[in-house]
Amino acid sequence: MRYLVNTFQKRKTLLSLIRRLSSLFLLSVASINLAFADGSVIDKVYHPYVDAMEKELEFRSFFQNLPATNSLPEHVHQLSIGSAWGQSLFGEAKLVGSKTQQNGFQLSAVEFELKWQLTEQGEYSADWGLVFEIEHGMERTPDELSVGLLIEKEFGRWSTTANLFAIQEWGDAIEGEFETAFGLQARYRQSRLFEPALEFYLGQDTVGIGPVLIGATNLGARKSLSWEFGVIAGVSSKSPNSTYRLLLEYEF
Protein backbone atom coordinates (compact mmCIF):
# COMPACT_ATOMS: atom_id res chain seq x y z
CA MET A 1 0.00 0.00 0.00
CA ARG A 2 2.83 2.36 0.95
CA TYR A 3 4.50 1.47 -2.41
CA LEU A 4 1.30 2.39 -4.25
CA VAL A 5 0.97 5.70 -2.39
CA ASN A 6 4.66 6.54 -3.04
CA THR A 7 4.30 5.65 -6.74
CA PHE A 8 1.16 7.78 -6.99
CA GLN A 9 2.90 10.73 -5.30
CA LYS A 10 5.99 10.41 -7.52
CA ARG A 11 3.77 10.45 -10.62
CA LYS A 12 1.86 13.45 -9.32
CA THR A 13 5.13 15.32 -8.70
CA LEU A 14 6.48 14.49 -12.17
CA LEU A 15 3.23 15.45 -13.88
CA SER A 16 3.08 18.65 -11.88
CA LEU A 17 6.67 19.48 -12.94
CA ILE A 18 5.87 18.80 -16.60
CA ARG A 19 2.74 20.92 -16.44
CA ARG A 20 4.65 23.79 -14.78
CA LEU A 21 7.45 23.61 -17.35
CA SER A 22 4.95 23.54 -20.22
CA SER A 23 2.91 26.39 -18.76
CA LEU A 24 6.02 28.49 -18.14
CA PHE A 25 7.20 27.81 -21.67
CA LEU A 26 3.87 28.69 -23.27
CA LEU A 27 3.36 31.73 -21.05
CA SER A 28 6.84 33.03 -21.85
CA VAL A 29 6.09 32.60 -25.54
CA ALA A 30 2.75 34.35 -25.14
CA SER A 31 3.88 37.22 -22.90
CA ILE A 32 6.85 38.43 -24.94
CA ASN A 33 6.29 40.47 -28.09
CA LEU A 34 5.81 37.49 -30.36
CA ALA A 35 7.68 37.09 -33.62
CA PHE A 36 8.35 34.02 -35.69
CA ALA A 37 11.88 32.87 -36.35
CA ASP A 38 13.31 34.55 -39.41
CA GLY A 39 15.30 32.64 -41.97
CA SER A 40 14.07 29.16 -42.71
CA VAL A 41 12.79 27.10 -39.79
CA ILE A 42 12.75 23.88 -41.82
CA ASP A 43 14.87 21.38 -39.91
CA LYS A 44 14.29 17.91 -38.55
CA VAL A 45 11.40 17.25 -36.15
CA TYR A 46 12.84 16.17 -32.78
CA HIS A 47 11.45 13.17 -30.90
CA PRO A 48 11.37 13.32 -27.08
CA TYR A 49 13.42 10.15 -26.54
CA VAL A 50 16.97 9.33 -25.50
CA ASP A 51 18.55 5.93 -26.12
CA ALA A 52 21.03 5.26 -23.29
CA MET A 53 24.62 4.39 -24.33
CA GLU A 54 24.00 5.67 -27.86
CA LYS A 55 26.58 7.63 -29.82
CA GLU A 56 25.89 9.10 -33.21
CA LEU A 57 27.33 10.93 -36.19
CA GLU A 58 24.78 12.99 -38.07
CA PHE A 59 24.81 14.89 -41.35
CA ARG A 60 21.98 17.21 -42.39
CA SER A 61 21.63 19.13 -45.65
CA PHE A 62 19.06 21.65 -46.83
CA PHE A 63 18.72 23.02 -50.36
CA GLN A 64 16.32 25.93 -50.86
CA ASN A 65 14.87 27.33 -54.09
CA LEU A 66 14.93 31.08 -53.48
CA PRO A 67 14.09 34.22 -55.51
CA ALA A 68 17.24 35.72 -57.09
CA THR A 69 17.64 38.60 -54.60
CA ASN A 70 17.00 36.61 -51.44
CA SER A 71 19.87 36.65 -48.93
CA LEU A 72 18.82 33.45 -47.12
CA PRO A 73 21.21 30.50 -47.53
CA GLU A 74 20.68 28.33 -50.61
CA HIS A 75 22.50 25.42 -49.01
CA VAL A 76 22.96 24.59 -45.33
CA HIS A 77 25.00 21.61 -44.17
CA GLN A 78 25.40 20.40 -40.59
CA LEU A 79 27.80 17.81 -39.23
CA SER A 80 27.42 16.71 -35.62
CA ILE A 81 28.64 14.18 -33.10
CA GLY A 82 26.54 13.22 -30.11
CA SER A 83 26.41 10.95 -27.11
CA ALA A 84 23.87 9.92 -24.49
CA TRP A 85 24.60 10.96 -20.91
CA GLY A 86 22.83 8.48 -18.66
CA GLN A 87 19.24 7.43 -19.29
CA SER A 88 17.62 10.75 -20.20
CA LEU A 89 20.15 13.27 -21.57
CA PHE A 90 21.73 13.46 -25.03
CA GLY A 91 24.35 16.05 -25.96
CA GLU A 92 25.44 16.96 -29.48
CA ALA A 93 28.10 19.33 -30.89
CA LYS A 94 27.59 20.69 -34.43
CA LEU A 95 29.38 22.54 -37.19
CA VAL A 96 27.07 24.45 -39.53
CA GLY A 97 28.11 25.64 -42.99
CA SER A 98 26.03 27.60 -45.50
CA LYS A 99 26.10 29.17 -48.94
CA THR A 100 24.08 32.19 -50.04
CA GLN A 101 23.62 33.55 -53.59
CA GLN A 102 26.00 36.37 -52.68
CA ASN A 103 28.68 34.37 -50.80
CA GLY A 104 30.37 31.02 -51.30
CA PHE A 105 30.16 28.13 -48.86
CA GLN A 106 31.56 28.99 -45.42
CA LEU A 107 31.37 27.92 -41.80
CA SER A 108 28.43 29.91 -40.41
CA ALA A 109 27.94 28.61 -36.84
CA VAL A 110 29.01 26.20 -34.14
CA GLU A 111 26.28 24.80 -31.94
CA PHE A 112 25.73 22.70 -28.85
CA GLU A 113 22.45 20.89 -28.23
CA LEU A 114 21.13 19.07 -25.17
CA LYS A 115 18.01 16.89 -25.29
CA TRP A 116 16.23 15.86 -22.09
CA GLN A 117 13.67 13.04 -22.04
CA LEU A 118 11.13 14.01 -19.39
CA THR A 119 8.74 11.03 -19.34
CA GLU A 120 8.96 7.30 -19.93
CA GLN A 121 7.74 6.38 -23.42
CA GLY A 122 4.14 5.19 -23.30
CA GLU A 123 3.62 5.79 -19.58
CA TYR A 124 1.31 8.77 -19.99
CA SER A 125 -1.11 9.80 -22.71
CA ALA A 126 1.75 11.66 -24.45
CA ASP A 127 5.55 11.62 -24.21
CA TRP A 128 7.41 14.83 -23.30
CA GLY A 129 10.90 16.20 -23.74
CA LEU A 130 12.90 19.42 -23.95
CA VAL A 131 15.78 20.44 -26.18
CA PHE A 132 18.17 23.32 -25.46
CA GLU A 133 20.44 24.77 -28.14
CA ILE A 134 23.14 27.40 -27.99
CA GLU A 135 24.61 28.62 -31.26
CA HIS A 136 27.56 30.91 -31.90
CA GLY A 137 27.33 32.54 -35.31
CA MET A 138 30.34 33.46 -37.45
CA GLU A 139 30.59 36.93 -39.03
CA ARG A 140 27.04 38.17 -39.76
CA THR A 141 25.25 35.08 -38.41
CA PRO A 142 23.67 35.94 -35.02
CA ASP A 143 24.21 34.06 -31.79
CA GLU A 144 21.16 32.13 -30.67
CA LEU A 145 19.78 30.47 -27.57
CA SER A 146 16.69 28.32 -27.92
CA VAL A 147 14.53 25.95 -25.95
CA GLY A 148 12.11 23.54 -27.59
CA LEU A 149 9.18 21.65 -26.13
CA LEU A 150 8.89 18.16 -27.69
CA ILE A 151 5.63 16.23 -27.54
CA GLU A 152 4.85 12.86 -29.12
CA LYS A 153 1.66 10.84 -29.17
CA GLU A 154 1.04 7.39 -30.65
CA PHE A 155 -2.18 6.48 -32.44
CA GLY A 156 -1.74 2.80 -33.37
CA ARG A 157 0.91 2.75 -36.12
CA TRP A 158 0.84 6.55 -36.39
CA SER A 159 3.20 8.73 -34.35
CA THR A 160 2.52 12.46 -34.18
CA THR A 161 5.26 14.76 -32.95
CA ALA A 162 5.09 18.50 -32.23
CA ASN A 163 8.05 20.82 -31.59
CA LEU A 164 7.59 24.37 -30.31
CA PHE A 165 10.73 26.50 -30.06
CA ALA A 166 11.35 29.80 -28.24
CA ILE A 167 14.46 31.47 -29.66
CA GLN A 168 16.48 34.49 -28.50
CA GLU A 169 18.85 35.95 -31.09
CA TRP A 170 21.56 38.57 -30.57
CA GLY A 171 24.71 39.78 -32.29
CA ASP A 172 26.57 42.77 -33.76
CA ALA A 173 24.76 42.63 -37.09
CA ILE A 174 21.19 42.42 -35.73
CA GLU A 175 18.99 43.77 -32.98
CA GLY A 176 18.23 41.27 -30.23
CA GLU A 177 15.05 39.45 -31.14
CA PHE A 178 12.75 36.89 -29.52
CA GLU A 179 11.17 34.47 -31.95
CA THR A 180 9.19 31.26 -32.11
CA ALA A 181 9.13 28.32 -34.49
CA PHE A 182 6.79 25.37 -34.81
CA GLY A 183 7.23 21.95 -36.43
CA LEU A 184 4.80 19.06 -36.73
CA GLN A 185 5.30 15.53 -38.07
CA ALA A 186 2.78 12.74 -38.63
CA ARG A 187 4.63 9.46 -39.32
CA TYR A 188 3.23 6.07 -40.31
CA ARG A 189 5.37 3.16 -39.07
CA GLN A 190 4.97 0.94 -42.14
CA SER A 191 8.33 -0.85 -41.72
CA ARG A 192 11.78 -0.06 -40.35
CA LEU A 193 13.00 0.70 -43.88
CA PHE A 194 10.00 2.76 -44.93
CA GLU A 195 8.09 5.20 -42.74
CA PRO A 196 6.26 7.83 -44.80
CA ALA A 197 5.57 11.10 -43.00
CA LEU A 198 4.06 14.53 -43.52
CA GLU A 199 5.76 17.58 -41.97
CA PHE A 200 4.59 21.15 -41.38
CA TYR A 201 6.78 24.11 -40.39
CA LEU A 202 5.81 27.61 -39.28
CA GLY A 203 8.12 30.61 -38.75
CA GLN A 204 8.40 34.31 -39.68
CA ASP A 205 9.71 33.64 -43.19
CA THR A 206 8.44 30.10 -43.58
CA VAL A 207 5.13 28.34 -43.84
CA GLY A 208 5.88 24.97 -45.40
CA ILE A 209 4.38 21.52 -45.73
CA GLY A 210 5.52 18.39 -47.50
CA PRO A 211 6.21 14.65 -47.53
CA VAL A 212 9.23 13.02 -45.88
CA LEU A 213 10.54 9.46 -46.21
CA ILE A 214 12.11 8.03 -43.06
CA GLY A 215 13.90 4.71 -42.64
CA ALA A 216 16.67 2.84 -40.88
CA THR A 217 18.69 -0.34 -41.24
CA ASN A 218 20.82 -2.34 -38.81
CA LEU A 219 24.52 -2.57 -39.60
CA GLY A 220 25.42 -4.98 -36.78
CA ALA A 221 25.11 -5.11 -33.01
CA ARG A 222 24.23 -1.60 -31.81
CA LYS A 223 25.09 -0.10 -35.18
CA SER A 224 22.51 1.38 -37.50
CA LEU A 225 22.08 3.88 -40.30
CA SER A 226 18.95 5.99 -40.49
CA TRP A 227 17.82 8.52 -43.06
CA GLU A 228 15.20 11.16 -43.70
CA PHE A 229 14.52 12.77 -47.07
CA GLY A 230 11.83 15.37 -47.56
CA VAL A 231 10.54 18.04 -49.93
CA ILE A 232 8.83 20.91 -48.13
CA ALA A 233 6.79 23.24 -50.33
CA GLY A 234 6.49 26.90 -49.31
CA VAL A 235 2.88 28.04 -48.93
CA SER A 236 3.45 31.75 -48.24
CA SER A 237 5.09 34.37 -50.42
CA LYS A 238 8.12 34.76 -48.12
CA SER A 239 8.80 31.02 -47.87
CA PRO A 240 11.35 29.35 -50.12
CA ASN A 241 9.45 27.83 -53.08
CA SER A 242 10.71 24.42 -52.04
CA THR A 243 13.22 23.05 -49.57
CA TYR A 244 14.88 19.65 -49.96
CA ARG A 245 16.07 18.21 -46.69
CA LEU A 246 18.33 15.20 -46.18
CA LEU A 247 19.48 13.61 -42.93
CA LEU A 248 21.86 10.69 -42.49
CA GLU A 249 22.59 9.35 -39.02
CA TYR A 250 25.03 6.63 -38.02
CA GLU A 251 24.35 5.26 -34.53
CA PHE A 252 26.91 3.18 -32.67
Binding site: L26, S159, T180
Partner: protein, 123 residues
Protein backbone atom coordinates in the same frame (compact mmCIF):
# COMPACT_ATOMS: atom_id res chain seq x y z
CA UNK B 1 -3.39 35.67 -53.23
CA UNK B 2 -1.66 39.08 -53.26
CA UNK B 3 1.73 39.69 -51.60
CA UNK B 4 0.17 42.00 -48.96
CA UNK B 5 -2.53 39.47 -48.15
CA UNK B 6 0.07 36.72 -47.73
CA UNK B 7 2.23 39.01 -45.55
CA UNK B 8 -0.80 39.85 -43.44
CA UNK B 9 -1.64 36.16 -43.10
CA UNK B 10 1.91 35.42 -41.92
CA UNK B 11 1.82 38.28 -39.38
CA UNK B 12 -1.61 37.27 -38.09
CA UNK B 13 -0.52 33.72 -37.44
CA UNK B 14 1.08 34.84 -34.12
CA UNK B 15 -2.09 34.45 -32.04
CA UNK B 16 -2.88 31.30 -34.04
CA UNK B 17 0.43 29.82 -32.94
CA UNK B 18 -0.38 30.48 -29.28
CA UNK B 19 -3.85 28.98 -29.64
CA UNK B 20 -2.40 26.02 -31.54
CA UNK B 21 0.25 25.49 -28.86
CA UNK B 22 -2.32 25.64 -26.08
CA UNK B 23 -4.59 23.22 -27.93
CA UNK B 24 -1.71 20.80 -28.41
CA UNK B 25 -0.69 21.16 -24.77
CA UNK B 26 -4.28 20.63 -23.64
CA UNK B 27 -4.85 17.66 -25.91
CA UNK B 28 -1.58 16.12 -24.81
CA UNK B 29 -1.97 16.98 -21.13
CA UNK B 30 -1.06 13.83 -19.32
CA UNK B 31 -3.59 12.33 -17.00
CA UNK B 32 -2.96 10.04 -14.08
CA UNK B 33 -3.82 6.48 -14.88
CA UNK B 34 -7.30 5.76 -13.59
CA UNK B 35 -6.39 2.20 -12.68
CA UNK B 36 -3.04 0.69 -11.67
CA UNK B 37 -1.22 -0.55 -14.78
CA UNK B 38 -0.84 -4.32 -15.06
CA UNK B 39 2.81 -5.31 -14.51
CA UNK B 40 4.54 -8.36 -16.00
CA UNK B 41 8.13 -9.52 -15.58
CA UNK B 42 10.70 -10.33 -18.24
CA UNK B 43 14.17 -11.61 -17.31
CA UNK B 44 17.37 -11.64 -19.34
CA UNK B 45 19.69 -14.52 -18.46
CA UNK B 46 22.56 -15.94 -20.57
CA UNK B 47 21.44 -13.60 -23.40
CA UNK B 48 17.97 -15.17 -23.53
CA UNK B 49 14.56 -13.72 -22.59
CA UNK B 50 12.48 -15.53 -19.94
CA UNK B 51 9.68 -16.04 -20.78
CA UNK B 52 10.32 -15.74 -24.50
CA UNK B 53 6.55 -15.53 -25.08
CA UNK B 54 4.91 -12.83 -23.02
CA UNK B 55 1.12 -13.12 -22.98
CA UNK B 56 -0.74 -9.92 -22.10
CA UNK B 57 -4.35 -8.75 -22.35
CA UNK B 58 -5.25 -6.88 -25.56
CA UNK B 59 -6.49 -3.28 -25.43
CA UNK B 60 -4.81 -2.57 -22.11
CA UNK B 61 -1.66 -0.71 -21.16
CA UNK B 62 0.98 -3.01 -19.63
CA UNK B 63 4.17 -2.28 -17.71
CA UNK B 64 6.98 -4.75 -18.43
CA UNK B 65 9.61 -4.90 -15.69
CA UNK B 66 12.77 -6.06 -17.47
CA UNK B 67 15.41 -7.55 -15.17
CA UNK B 68 18.86 -8.09 -16.65
CA UNK B 69 20.70 -10.81 -14.70
CA UNK B 70 23.63 -10.88 -17.14
CA UNK B 71 26.97 -9.13 -16.48
CA UNK B 72 26.57 -7.31 -19.83
CA UNK B 73 24.04 -4.68 -20.95
CA UNK B 74 21.20 -5.54 -23.30
CA UNK B 75 18.74 -3.49 -25.32
CA UNK B 76 15.08 -4.42 -25.63
CA UNK B 77 14.09 -3.50 -29.18
CA UNK B 78 10.91 -3.89 -31.19
CA UNK B 79 9.81 -1.96 -34.27
CA UNK B 80 6.33 -3.49 -33.94
CA UNK B 81 5.99 -2.18 -30.36
CA UNK B 82 7.83 1.07 -31.20
CA UNK B 83 10.16 0.62 -28.23
CA UNK B 84 13.90 0.44 -27.63
CA UNK B 85 15.51 0.62 -24.23
CA UNK B 86 18.91 -0.26 -22.81
CA UNK B 87 19.07 -2.27 -19.58
CA UNK B 88 22.47 -2.00 -17.89
CA UNK B 89 24.20 -5.12 -16.54
CA UNK B 90 22.69 -6.48 -13.29
CA UNK B 91 19.90 -3.89 -13.28
CA UNK B 92 16.26 -3.48 -14.15
CA UNK B 93 13.98 -1.03 -15.92
CA UNK B 94 10.35 -0.64 -16.95
CA UNK B 95 8.88 -0.44 -20.46
CA UNK B 96 5.27 0.61 -21.06
CA UNK B 97 3.45 -0.93 -24.03
CA UNK B 98 -0.09 -0.88 -25.37
CA UNK B 99 -2.99 -0.76 -25.46
CA UNK B 100 -2.35 -3.32 -28.22
CA UNK B 101 -4.74 -4.92 -30.68
CA UNK B 102 -4.93 -8.73 -30.65
CA UNK B 103 -1.79 -10.05 -32.33
CA UNK B 104 1.88 -10.95 -32.05
CA UNK B 105 4.62 -8.37 -31.59
CA UNK B 106 8.22 -9.69 -31.85
CA UNK B 107 11.09 -8.16 -29.85
CA UNK B 108 14.82 -8.90 -29.59
CA UNK B 109 17.96 -7.94 -27.71
CA UNK B 110 20.08 -5.67 -29.87
CA UNK B 111 23.37 -6.69 -28.22
CA UNK B 112 22.76 -10.43 -28.71
CA UNK B 113 20.09 -10.61 -31.46
CA UNK B 114 20.85 -14.22 -32.43
CA UNK B 115 19.84 -15.59 -29.03
CA UNK B 116 17.80 -12.88 -27.31
CA UNK B 117 14.47 -13.18 -29.12
CA UNK B 118 10.90 -13.07 -27.91
CA UNK B 119 7.33 -12.19 -28.74
CA UNK B 120 4.53 -10.33 -26.99
CA UNK B 121 1.16 -12.01 -27.62
CA UNK B 122 -1.85 -9.76 -27.01
CA UNK B 123 -5.03 -11.83 -26.46
Amino acid sequence: MSESAMLSMTKNTGPMLIVLSLLIALSFVTELAKAETLEVELRIRDHLFFPSTLIIPANQKVKIRVINEDPTPEEFESFELNREKVIAAHSQTVIFIGPLEVGEYPFFGEFYPKTAQGVVVAK
